[in-house]
Symmetry: C3
Subunit: 214 residues, 3 copies
C-alpha cells in the first residue's frame, strides 16, 4: 500500500508540472499556473473519489498531496523562467502521470469491491480526467480525443491490473507491471505517432462540407 | 418503476448515439467516440446523483447502463463508417433522449421527497447536462444556450410531471404523458425553428461593438 | 451566523447578475441566461459542498438561494432590455460576489474543522469556481487565469479569515474585515489594472513560435 501511495505522489507531481507547462503555453499568470497545476494533478483523483462516494477526498484527508501539487507547479513556474522546457518532455512526463493514476485508480476501486467495468473506468477516469479538464480550462479540445493512443494506454493498464489481480498476482507485481505497461504503450505511441482508427468517411461529416447542418 | 427503467435505458442509448455523432463531426478517434458517448449518456444522471447525494451512482449500481452507453456508441461508430447519418436525425434522437432523462430525473427527485423547485431542476439537469458537457468537450458553445426551445421543452415536461403527480395522477400516466409532452414540444421547435426571446438590444452588448470592454 | 447567511444571499444575487450579463454578451436566449445565472451563482457553493461531502447541498436544503439566483438573473434579463449595463459595472459587482463567497466558503470549511490549507482552498473554490464555469460555458478562457489579481484577492481574504479566527477574532469582525479586504484588493486591481507576474520568457512558449510542437 505504501507503493501505491508513492505512485500516487509521483503522479501528482508529474501532472502538476504538465499543468504548469500548459498554463505557460497559454500565458496564464502565477495563479493561473497554480490553479491549472492543482486541477491537473488532483482533478482525476477528485472525480474518482466523488464518483465512488469516497469521503473525505484523498487530498483533504492527506493535504500532503495538495502541497505536492502546488509545490511542483510553483517549481515549474520558477524553472520555466530560466529554461525552455521542450513540449516533448511534457508529453513523456504526462505519460508517467497517466500510468501512475491509472494504476492507483484501478486498485482503489477494486479495494472497494467494484465490478470489473467500474474498476477499469475508474482507473481510466483517474488517469485521463485531470488532463481533460486541464485542456478544457485552457479552452482547447482535449487532444486525447483526436489523435493519440492515450486512453488506450490507460485502458490496457487498467485491464491488466484487474485481470492480474483476479488471477492472484500480488499487489506489488501487479502494480509495477501495470505501471510499466501504460508507460511503454504511451511512449511507443508518442515515439511512433500511433493512432486509433477514426470514422472512415469522417470527411463527409465535417461541417464545412455541410453548411446546411446547423 | 420498470417503465421508468425502460425509459432510462432508452435515453442512455439515444444520447450515447448523439454523442458518437458529435464526436464523428469533430473527427475524434474510436476512444474519443466512446468517451463522448459515455459522458453524453451518463453525465446528466451522474450529475443528478451527485447533487442528490445518491450513492452508488446509477451506472455503478447497475453496470448495464454503462454497457448500453458504450455499446450504442460503438454501434454508431461502426454504422457511421458505412452511412452518413444526417444531422437532423441526431436532433430528433436527442429530443427523445431529452424527454427520457427529464422524466426519470424529475421522478427520482420526487421519490426522494425533494421540494418542487429541486425536482424540476433535477429533471432539467438530467436531461440537459449530458448534452452540455458533450458540447463543452467538443469545444463548442452549448447550442441550447443560444437558439432553441430546448430547456423549455425539458421544463414543460418536468413541471407537468411534478404537477400531475401532486394532483394524484398515477405514475404510468404521468410518465408517459410527460415524455410525450417533451418530445412534442421539442419536435415542434425543431420543425418550425421556434426560439425564445433574447436580450432585445443584444447587439449593443456584442464585443466587437465595444472593444474597450476587455 | 445570520450575517454569514446574508453575505451568502448577497453573493448569490450579485453573481447571478454577472452571469446574466455574460450570457447577454454571448447572445444566449432567456433560458441560457437563467442557466448561466444559476450556475454562476450556485456553482461555487455546489462544488464546495460536493468536495466537503456536505449533504444536502446548500440550495437544496434552502431553496431560497435557488429562487434568488433565478430571480436576479431574470431581473437582469428584463433590465438589460432597456439599459446597457457597462462592463465595468459587471467587474465591480463580480468583485463583491467574490468577496461574499470567499468569506462564506472559508468559514464553512473551518466550521467542519478542516485543516488550514483546505479551508483556504474552499474559500477560493467557492469564490472563483462560479465565474470559471460561467466562462467555460460561454466558451472563453477563464479570464482570471490570465491577467488579473483575482484569485489573489480571494486568497488574501481566505488567509485573513483563517488567521484571524485562529488568533481568536470573533466571527462578525473576522467576516466583515475579510469581506472588505477582498473587495478592496479587487477594486484596486480593477482600478489600476494590477497583475501578477507571468512566465518571464513566455513568448518562447507560444505555439506560433514552435509549430513543430503539436
Amino acid at each position: 500500500m505504501s507503493l501505491l501511495y508513492a505512485i500516487e505522489l509521483f503522479g501528482v507531481a508529474v501532472f502538476a508540472m504538465a499543468g504548469a507547462i500548459e498554463a505557460a503555453r497559454n500565458r496564464f499568470d502565477l495563479f493561473g499556473v497554480l490553479v491549472l497545476a492543482f486541477v491537473s494533478a488532483l482533478g482525476g483523483g477528485t472525480l474518482r473519489d466523488l464518483l465512488l462516494d469516497r469521503s473525505p477526498l484523498s487530498w483533504i484527508a492527506d493535504t500532503r498531496l495538495a502541497y505536492v501539487a502546488l509545490g511542483s507547479g510553483f517549481a515549474m513556474f520558477l524553472l520555466a523562467k530560466f529554461v525552455r522546457i521542450p513540449f516533448r518532455a511534457l508529453l513523456y512526463a504526462d505519460a508517467v502521470g497517466l500510468a501512475a493514476f491509472t494504476v492507483s485508480g484501478t486498485l482503489i476501486a477494486m479495494n472497494q469491491s467494484m465490478p470489473g467495468l467500474v474498476a477499469v473506468l475508474m482507473g481510466m477516469a483517474s488517469g485521463i480526467f485531470g488532463g481533460v479538464i486541464r485542456d478544457i480550462m485552457a479552452n482547447e479540445i482535449p487532444l486525447i480525443f483526436r489523435r493519440d493512443v492515450y486512453a488506450t494506454a490507460s485502458l490496457s493498464g487498467a485491464l491488466w491490473i484487474y485481470w492480474s489481480q483476479m488471477f492472484g498476482l500480488n499487489d506489488t507485481a501487479s502494480l509495477t507491471s501495470g505501471f510499466i505497461l501504460v508507460v511503454l504503450v504511451r511512449f511507443a505511441a508518442i515515439r511512433w505517432q500511433l493512432s486509433l482508427p477514426g470514422f472512415l468517411n469522417t470527411a463527409s461529416y465535417r461541417r464545412e462540407n455541410h453548411p446546411e447542418d446547423l
